[in-house]
């Protein structure tokens, strides 16, 4: 199931075929993943897909049933959490309620061999980095959600980890704060050059943060790559649907042809699309709503049943001849006049935007 990805020459973190079972349930199933220096990888998937367990395996809170975790070539697999040069930012932030902000941030500095002054300077620098000046003497329960999030980030960065693990780092923040914080997180990451592994269930967040997105489904890493690759060339219906709205048209794959494009026989008629598979196999054609063009001369006939004006685009639903409904999304100003609801329209599917996926 693994999509072939070119591996960086010397990965910072190398996870090899790691498996974790809880009783009969396999939470993480043979996952391999490489992380380069300074890279942000987002693990994306629905809850229960194993992404948080994978993060906890790297942090050392869970012991794997099989597989290894290497950092800079050194095997971490058997080390307890407090001996691993990685740090984690928890979903709940896990700030120590009985300690002030400065003590929380400085907690990890003990045992690093820093003098009192050096430790105080490091804490002051982190406080500045996350813009919490003046809050050093506050207790966590007197802070807002966004402030707590920043304390948690500063605390996790204090030991200057090679890799920072972030479990739903923005999950507890409201939408506007989240978008603002995404930018901040990226800026901090670029400045420090730390590698991030971010767990999230929010595709937009993954796309905003990640250099590469790893999609997990039922314990397996089903596809990994840059957001654009996953969006344009998903490996499965699951990945296609996870990263955004998609039209899925079922059909049967025609014979191989020169030039890469294939014909899929569907209830709507033959559709040209790109992808691979055995001739005669049951497949789906996946096409993003914004790739459909309406009103083209040569297209599939349909009836416009809904057109919603959304400011920057018009979202419409078209009932096709076989009774199925396709969703289209056109940027404004749309080329040509906007048809009225109930009007007959034609829908053209550009072959290079249509992907053939296993059914």
């Amino acid at each position: 199931m693994h999509a072939p990805t070119p591996l960086p020459a010397a990965p910072l973190l190398r996870i090899e075929r790691i498996t974790k079972r809880f009783a009969a349930h396999t939470a993480v199933d043979g996952v391999s993943l490489d992380l380069a220096q300074g890279e942000i990888v987002c693990l994306l998937g629905p809850s229960g897909c194993g992404k948080s367990t994978l993060l906890r395996l790297v942090a050392g809170f869970e012991a794997p049933d099989a597989g290894t975790i290497r950092l800079d070539g050194a095997d971490l697999t058997a080390l307890p959490p407090h001996r691993r040069p990685v740090n984690m930012m928890f979903q709940s932030y896990a700030l120590f309620p009985h300690m002030r902000v400065a003590a929380n941030i400085g907690y990890g500095l003990k045992g690093l061999g820093l003098s009192r002054r050096e430790a105080a300077e490091r804490v002051a620098g982190l406080v500045k980095l996350v813009r919490l000046e003046g809050f050093e003497a506050r207790k966590p329960d007197t802070l807002s959600g966004g402030q707590r999030q920043r304390v948690a980030l500063a605390r996790a960065l204090a030991r200057e980890p090679k890799i920072l693990l972030l479990d739903e780092p923005l999950g507890a923040l409201d939408r506007t704060l989240r978008e603002e914080t995404q930018g901040e997180l990226r800026a901090i990451q670029r400045r420090l050059g730390t590698s991030f592994v971010v767990v999230t269930h929010d595709p937009e967040e993954a796309m905003a943060l990640a250099d590469r997105i790893g999609v997990m489904e039922r314990g397996r890493l089903v596809q990994i790559g840059p957001a654009r690759d996953l969006y344009e060339r998903p490996a499965s219906r699951f990945v296609a649907g996870l990263l955004g709205d998609v039209n899925l048209i079922e059909g049967r794959l025609g014979p191989a042809e020169p030039g890469g494009l294939r014909t899929v026989e569907t209830a709507l008629g033959p559709i040209r699309a790109s992808g691979e598979g055995a001739a005669g196999a049951a497949v789906v054609v996946a096409v993003r709503p914004e790739r459909l063009s309406l009103g083209a001369a040569a297209g599939l006939p349909g009836t416009l049943v809904e057109a919603t004006f959304l400011g920057d685009r018009i979202r419409s639903r078209i009932a096709m001849a076989d009774g199925s409904v396709l969703r289209a999304s056109a940027a404004l100003p749309a080329p040509g006049p906007v048809p009225a609801v109930g009007a007959a329209v034609t829908v053209a599917i550009p072959p290079d935007s249509a992907r053939i996926l296993p059914a």
Partner: protein
């Protein structure tokens, strides 16, 4: 609250506390006769504080209560940690049951079995045996109180500390213990009051020279109730009441940290 509920509550509270109220009121009775009101006086308290054997018994009780509560506090906390932290291990249910059983065991049986044990191993009966006996049954209470707090403690706090390089001992001393401290103290105070007012178990396992306050009061009552007993009981009620209030205050403000 409906009128019915209100009167039901009043009746229940009266049923529970009327006898104690009568005892407190009569401890300030000037008359020597317990059942006849002879005007307000604090003279029984003066007599009480001049009663050497009674004061000696009170001292024994305090010593026993402090020591047994300290032992039960440590053992109960450790037991609660073990049950909470090691997830499911073989015999977990049995261990839990065994820990809580002394709480519901009839005191006569606890007392008798401990007496047989002490005689069997040749341990001289005295303050030490009472301390051991009280620590035995109070440990379960402490484990319940501390266990409830541990259950609500966010495990990711300890994980975060370990993640930040703290070895297990530093995690326990710096994170876990401060956060469960109110419940440990509450458990200690509960054990303290349980020890302070135990008569049955102490009677079984005490020896010469080790008379606790409840034992002393009980033996005096058998010769006839006098207002001095009322005064002593009132003081005990005040002390236990204060300790219970402190314990519930500590339990209520748990989680806010220290």
């Amino acid at each position: 609250m409906s009128p019915f509920a209100r009167s039901a509550l009043t009746l229940a509270l009266a049923f529970l506390y009327a006898p104690i109220l009568v005892l407190i009121v009569y401890s300030f009775n000037d008359s020597k006769l317990v059942t006849v009101w002879g005007g307000f006086s604090t003279r029984w308290y003066a007599i009480l504080f001049a009663d050497g054997p009674l004061l000696a018994a009170a001292l024994v009780s305090l010593k026993v209560a402090l020591l047994s509560a300290a032992i039960a506090g440590v053992l109960g906390t450790l037991a609660a940690l073990a049950l909470d932290r090691h997830g499911r291990f073989f015999g977990r249910g049995a261990y839990t049951g065994l820990l809580y059983a002394p709480m519901v065991m009839p005191e006569v049986i606890t007392g008798l079995s401990l007496l047989l044990l002490f005689v069997g191993i040749g341990l001289d009966r005295g303050i030490a045996t009472i301390v051991i006996a009280h620590a035995t049954f109070a440990t379960g209470f402490v484990a319940v109180v501390v266990g409830a707090r541990l259950k609500s403690l966010d495990r990711s706090l300890e994980e975060a500390a370990a993640d930040l390089g703290a070895a297990p001992l530093r995690v326990f001393l710096g994170i876990t213990l401060p956060l469960i401290a109110p419940s440990v103290v509450a458990g200690f105070l509960l054990a303290f009051t349980l020890s302070l007012d135990d008569l049955v178990i102490a009677s079984f396992v005490s020896g010469p020279g080790a008379t606790t306050l409840p034992m002393r009061l009980y033996s005096q009552v058998r010769l006839g109730v006098n207002p001095e007993i009322n005064a002593a009981s009132t003081l005990m009620i005040a002390l236990v009441g204060l300790v219970v209030l402190a314990a519930s205050w500590l339990t209520a403000r748990r989680g806010q940290g220290g």
